[in-house]
Structures are given as structure tokens and as C-alpha cells.
Symmetry: C2
Subunit: 213 residues, 2 copies
């Protein structure tokens, strides 16, 4: 059974630990702040009050035999980098680290972390992009020029079936789901009608979206 | 032309302002920290050193006539709430605020913000979910029980066409794209073959993913 470690229980580390633990995973959480440890101790397998820079403490916590460790130490870049080095040097197979700046992230990459995460930047750019296009509630980019968009049903498509709207052929748009009130129709059939108030989850290029609206 | 305001230039606010500005939008940025203002001043339309709690300063910055304002004040919950109240009271049509805790977010909602954002929590839960299922590189939930998954091509599907794999009928899985090296085939045709090393972007239920792997 896979063992996860989480070092640093700011908002990011806390929710990583909580989500893993709620799914039944074994989680070892470490932080030097007593309140943070108290907050998480009921949720995870083991919560240790410790300075992650002290290898002995990491040993005692059992985190050095974890399969995956997530490091989320924010303001103290030095500690983030040194703890990362410690774990990688001790052979942790998968180290994932949160970075607070591109330079910080670059250092972590070069030390050999499997993944560098920039939570604020990711959500910020997603929010900003959804603000730039009216009617787009959400944009999740996944390839250059292509995204998954959540859009309000365009006026000209209301009361037409997906077959009639013919979006794939006309615009290269794939309708993935229709949100209607609080139900979601995933992978809707061609006979499904688009109604007023529907939110469409579509896959397409940014140009196709502009052509549509 | 739409005017955006961003108050609070921590990592989240900074990248919201930067992304909007890079897309050509008019952005007014406010922060009380000189270094933050200096960092952003070349990127945005107007950058003002000011305490957002001083209504006079907000007036002079022109932010009270913005269409959308994003408030990203972190540690100081009181300031975040009071600035939000100020903007909503002055009739800003769309206020979006970053929250540092569920309770904080609930207050902001009740004041009337259009959207409350929890960047660290969102990315943390996404990361944790992708760590729980081997082979899942990314999971983007969009409806109860359904997500968009990025998965390594399952061994049993290698060298089969999408038509042969018959994923939609057999598992209710819709293959949205195939990432191969650094190219991405969006909305692939039925004749497309799945090759070793491919990353599939699929839409389906969590059960369908488990059945597949
Ligand atoms: N050497 C260390 N050993 C253990 N824990 C540490 C160490 N240094 C910092 N931490 C812990 O890391 C946690 C996260 O750090 P910090 O709050 O600076 O990050 P943050 O980026 O603001 O967090 P978030 O944005 O995720 O809320 C804190 O709870 C802090 O106590
Ligand atoms: N009253 C205020 N007026 C203007 N700016 C403010 C005020 N209070 C705080 N700020 C600014 O808000 C910014 C963000 O606050 P803070 O750094 O606490 O948030 P954060 O949650 O750690 O940021 P992030 O996670 O986005 O990096 C800071 O740059 C700070 O100077």
C-alpha cells in the first residue's frame, strides 16, 4: 500500500493531506507549527511536530520510506530547497514540490522533483482567461490553441438538437456535456436539445469559440 | 472596453493582473507594498501604491469605475472583507475574491461577491486525486462522478484504433485527445491508432476509469 508524506501544512499542504487521507491513503504529515499539526492530526495516519530540516526527525516520522512526498513550504525558500534535497538524496522516488516563484521552481526541477506546482499562478491564469471572454465561465487549456470551455448556450443554438447544431462539422467543436440546473448530461446524444439556460462544456480551438459567439 | 481592477498583488493577484494585461485588457493594480507595485508597473495600465481600505485612494486610482475587480488580500482577512464590502457598496458589478478559509469564503459570498476562489485548495485536491490513481496524470472534475482524465495509454489498447478499442460503447469513455510526444491530436478520428507512450485525454466516470485499468 502506497505511503504518502506531506511536509508543510499551509493551505496547499493541508488540502493535499486531507484529500489523500479522505480517500483512505496512508498519510504522514509534518510541520513545525503546533496549530497546523493539531488541525490535521485527526485526519491523517500520523502527524508529527518537527523541523523538516532535521533528518533525524524525518527518520522517526517514517517519512523517509514514503513512496511519494509533497513538499509545501512557502515563504522559506531555503527550507523548501534544502528539505527537497534531503528527500531526494535519501532516495524518495517521487517528490512533488510547491514553488513560490519561477526561479524557485527551476531549482527544484534541477534537483530532480517529479513535479513542480504553482497553485496560485494556475488558478490565476484560468480565472483571468475566463474573465476575458464573455460567456465563458471556465477555460481549461490542454493543448496549444485548444481548451475545454464552459459556456452559456449561445442564443442561436437554443432549442436545436446537437445534431441540428452540427457543431463538430461546422466549428470543430465537441460538446462534452450539458449542465442543466443541477443535473449534468455527460457525452450527450445527438438528439439532445439545447435549452435556454444550459451551460455547455465544449472542446475546441479558441478560434472556433470566437466563431461560435 | 472592459476595465479590470486587481487589489493585492501576492502570487495570485499578480498573475491575474499579468494575464489580463498580456491579453491587452485595461488593468488597474493596487497594493500597499512598494516592491509589489514596482514589479507590476511595467505590465499593467495603472499601478497604484495605496491602502485599499482608503476609499479616497481607490477613487483616485479609478478602480471604483472598474467593471470587474479581483481582490486577493491573503493573510489579513479583515482587510479582505472590508475592501470587498467597500467595492460592493460602491456598486462594482463583478467582485471576485480569493478566500483563505471556508469561513472567510462564506462571508465573502454573503456580501455578494460573484465568485470566491480557493487556489491552493483547488490545485491541492487535483494533485491529490491524480496521485491516488496510478497512471492518471491529471484529473479535472466537472460533474459528480465524472472527470476529464489524462492517462497513459493502457497496455491492452496499444496498437488498436479508437474504433477497435470501442471505448465509448464498452466503458462510456470519450477520447478527447491523444498527446503524442509534443503534438496533440484533438478530437481524434475513429481510425486513429493508440501508440505506446501516448497520453489519452478522456472523459468518463470514475468507475469507467477503474474498469479500464
Ligand atoms: N523547516 C520546516 N519544517 C517543517 N515545517 C515547516 C518548515 N518551514 C516551514 N514549515 C511549514 O510550512 C507550512 C507552509 O509554509 P507557508 O505558510 O510559508 O506557505 P504558504 O505558501 O503561505 O502556504 P499556502 O499558500 O499553502 O497556504 C507552514 O505551516 C510552516 O509551519
Ligand atoms: N489594505 C491593503 N491595501 C492594499 N494592499 C494590501 C492590503 N492588505 C494587504 N495587501 C496586499 O495584498 C497582497 C496579498 O496579500 P498576502 O501576501 O497576504 O496574500 P497571500 O494569500 O499570501 O498571497 P498569494 O498566496 O496570492 O501569494 C500583499 O501584496 C499585500 O501587500
Amino acid at each position: 500500500k502506497k505511503v504518502f508524506g506531506v511536509i508543510g501544512l499551509g493551505k496547499f499542504g493541508f488540502y493535499v493531506a486531507k484529500t489523500l487521507a479522505e480517500a483512505g491513503a496512508e498519510v504522514i504529515a509534518i510541520d513545525k507549527d503546533e496549530d497546523k499539526i493539531r488541525k490535521i492530526s485527526d485526519l491523517v495516519t500520523h502527524a508529527y511536530l518537527a523541523d523538516a530540516l532535521e533528518e533525524q526527525s524525518l527518520e522517526e516520522a517514517g517519512i523517509l520510506s514514503a513512496d511519494t512526498v509533497v513538499i509545501s513550504i512557502g515563504e522559506n525558500i531555503e527550507a523548501s530547497i534544502l528539505v527537497t534535497m534531503l528527500l531526494i538524496g535519501r532516495g524518495i522516488k517521487e517528490v512533488i514540490a510547491k514553488a513560490v516563484s519561477p526561479l524557485h521552481g527551476e531549482v527544484l526541477k534541477r534537483l530532480g522533483v517529479a513535479r513542480v506546482v504553482y497553485p496560485e499562478k494556475e488558478i490565476a491564469t484560468r480565472l483571468a482567461r475566463s474573465l476575458l471572454v464573455t460567456g465563458v465561465l471556465e477555460e481549461i487549456p490542454f493543448a496549444p490553441g485548444h481548451s475545454i470551455f464552459e459556456i452559456k448556450a449561445p442564443i442561436n443554438l437554443i432549442n436545436r438538437t446537437l445534431k441540428e447544431a452540427d457543431l463538430r462539422r461546422r466549428y470543430g467543436i465537441n460538446v462534452l456535456a450539458i449542465k442543466r440546473g443541477n443535473k449534468v448530461i455527460v457525452n450527450p446524444s445527438a438528439e439532445e436539445k439545447i435549452l435556454k439556460g444550459d451551460v455547455l462544456l465544449i472542446l475546441g480551438s479558441e478560434e472556433s469559440l470566437l466563431t461560435l459567439s
